[in-house]
Assembly symmetry: C2
Homo-oligomer: 429 residues x 2
């Protein structure tokens, strides 16, 4: 058996690999001779093959023993394929339609074979092309509300939750990456950091000296390391979401672990806002994408507001809940107080979400693994003028989220910052 | 081999069990024929034997498959012996002198053989006898500061912490007991509840209707279920501490898991305060133990204040710390801000500690497994007059801890409540 031990696949061997698994053949049709494979991975850490046959396609993802975008100098456990598969299986129980279908998992080869999503684009690319996704807010808020609720102490018996926690405690190596690159590296001199230079040199230096900001980053890091609220995706940026205008799927669950809910919600919102500020860089102020940017802000608002109302609805309707048990709150006055407590809990979640949103933005502008939306802007002056207001937003969210009474106030602040950015560009040209 | 499978030991078979483990013989001296065993367990859930030989003694603890004080109708996993042993081993790394020495662990028989502590008393009994323990605050604050710090994200690398978390995720059955009996049962009608009746009927009913209190209890329960701060003892009441005036040992770690630090600190403080209010019941107002009660309040203050300063000192001196990493806070201004953040963190810990202190008190007066100090008071009117001010304190700590700027303000409030209690007794007689 050529594939009984781990080996890195290529465009040839991936076909032999697939041919040895009879259950996969129907998805492709025909035989090995009529199949084609193409490496399509554009993420930072894995190999991804599209395999095509006469009857259809499938997608094969293999974990590499190093960080792909850096190379073998940064080793990375292939165990992550196991955690990705486990998280997909758990999340599937709660949002089957928002994930790719899984056809096969090979624990030795660290391979997951799944549905080839077509004609889906990575959300990031779609946004760069100015495409609207009318289902996005509905679907992502659904994904967040259901996966976070049902894997939390609100939606799952304690013993079952602890069993799953124990499993995902093993995914420490990937958590460690996040602990470093999000919460630590951007706040001191580090070889992994990179930014638009010299334009952002002074703001990068300012952030490294900003003690309030560093305290905020450390506080969010502590919560990331100790708050086992729910089985979170762990890397829910706009490159982990595949979309058509009619359909949404969440992929790439290898960073999954039991962590704070706000880390997932903040990741989506932060990366959408990053894109909002990048839009100026594609077209310039004369040919503005102002309407598209408004759609992005609407989407951010809807994601939070719908997450909030869906989460509350799930909480209200769960009669088996072990925390805030219904037996303790069994008349009108009690239910009123409990409803108030739910709002308080969601307010805390909002503030934490905004904090993580800010942390995610800063790592993508001053740290490692930048967003492609900003990177695509070739003129460094223009890029910096997009990045700067986005950094201002991020800092504010990390340090001062408490002052924002609603998501609407956050998006209003984004508009103000964008106007300032436009004036900056106008002054320059 | 008679002991290759689990069987419940008795005074005879425990001697054969010990005799089959050659490494234990030196602690006893002589041979089986010269040994004696005596069942000395007075806890709620286990068998404990003192085994004596010509040269010395040892203590043998066996987990029973049911809750001892209830009987076989309440089954309980014997797996808890494993978690007790694992926690003892971990805590021993940080406070070797504050635990009993462990001689042997038998995973099949669920037996831990350890040092026979002599002339130690259970702290609870010592307090009931009015004995002062000048080392207590020093030792318990040391136990709390070191075990909580070194098993937390402040004192242990994340990967090692997650490995231990995974292990203790298995101890869900014992956690479930706490979730029920501390945070839920006392707040609604439940068969496990018991109180001094009819004297406390109205306050028990009042608490069941007190929606603020029930919200507070649920919030503390949620933190108990999701805040994986440190490997906590999990049941650190005054029956889990053995003392002489010169020596302190912490025992009974079977409820250990990764939980909120305040749960341990609040357990000690809550049970000391329970004893403070019970003292009136032993001697009556004419022959007051006022001085001893002042010693108890001093001890409570010192435990918190010394815990606080020791924890901060450990935090300040750990250069390998992964959260709030020193690399980010490397000049005088930064260190000042970090010192302020440490105080903020400890303030949060204080409020949570006071909340758990209150929850622990309420379960011991209105729920199950009452404190023996209160139970010993035979006159139900007198007992109720001791319990009532203690309940008032507990409710205040759960709902309103934020209003207390320091532990000193809490102990002042205890004095006020005691005076009110005395007036109550005086009025009655």
């Amino acid at each position: 058996m050529p594939f009984s031990n781990y080996q890195i696949l290529d465009q040839q061997s991936v076909l032999s690999f697939v041919s040895e698994i009879p259950s996969l053949t129907p998805y492709l049709g025909g035989t090995l001779a009529g199949w084609q494979a193409c490496e399509v991975g554009d993420g930072n850490v894995n190999l991804v093959f599209a395999v095509q046959g006469p009857a259809g396609s499938l997608c094969l993802k293999q974990a590499l023993p190093f960080v792909r975008m850096v190379g073998e100098s940064w080793p990375l456990t292939v165990e992550r394929a196991f955690f990705e598969y486990q998280c997909l299986e758990e999340h599937r129980r709660h949002v089957p339609d928002l994930l790719p279908k899984i056809y096969y998992y090979d624990p030795k080869m660290r391979v997951i074979v799944m549905e080839y999503l077509h004609p889906h684009l990575i959300l990031l690319k779609g946004m760069m092309a100015g495409i609207r996704y009318p289902r996005l807010a509905e679907d992502i808020s659904e994904y967040l509300a259901r996966t976070l609720f049902y894997t939390s102490s609100f939606g799952m018996p304690a013993a079952e939750k602890k069993r799953k926690m124990a499993l995902f405690c093993g995914n420490t190596e990937l958590c460690r990456i996040m602990e470093d690159v999000i919460f630590t590296d951007p706040y001191h001199i580090h070889v992994r950091n990179r930014w638009t230079s010299p334009q952002l040199d002074s703001v990068a230096a300012e952030f490294r000296e900003d003690v309030q900001l560093k305290i905020a980053a450390s506080r969010l890091k502590l919560a990331y390391m100790t708050k086992t609220e729910a089985l979170i995706h762990g890397d829910l940026h706009t490159g982990s979401i595949m979309v058509t205008p009619e359909n949404t799927r969440v992929i790439d669950h290898e960073f999954a672990f039991y962590g704070p809910m706000g880390f997932d919600i903040g990741a989506v919102i932060g990366n959408l806002l990053l894109n909002y500020f990048s839009q100026e860089g594609y077209t310039g102020p004369s040919d503005s994408r102002g309407d598209y940017q408004e759609w992005l802000l609407d989407t951010v608002e809807c994601i939070w507001l719908q997450f909030q109302s869906k989460f509350i609805a799930l909480w209200e309707s769960n009669n088996e809940i072990e925390v805030y048990p219904p037996a303790l709150f069994d008349d009108a006055a009690n239910r009123l107080a409990l409803a108030e407590e739910r709002r308080r809990w969601l307010r805390e979640c909002f503030e934490e979400t905004m904090g993580y949103c800010g942390a995610k933005i800063i790592r993508r502008i001053l740290g490692q693994a930048h967003g492609r939306d900003m990177e695509q802007i070739e003129d460094p002056d223009l890029r910096a003028s997009c990045e700067l207001p986005c950094l201002r937003l991020a800092r504010e969210m990390m340090v001062n989220a408490r002052a924002y009474k609603s998501i609407r106030e956050v998006t209003m602040f984004c508009r103000e910052l964008r106007q300032e950015g436009l004036r900056l560009v106008a002054t320059r040209t």
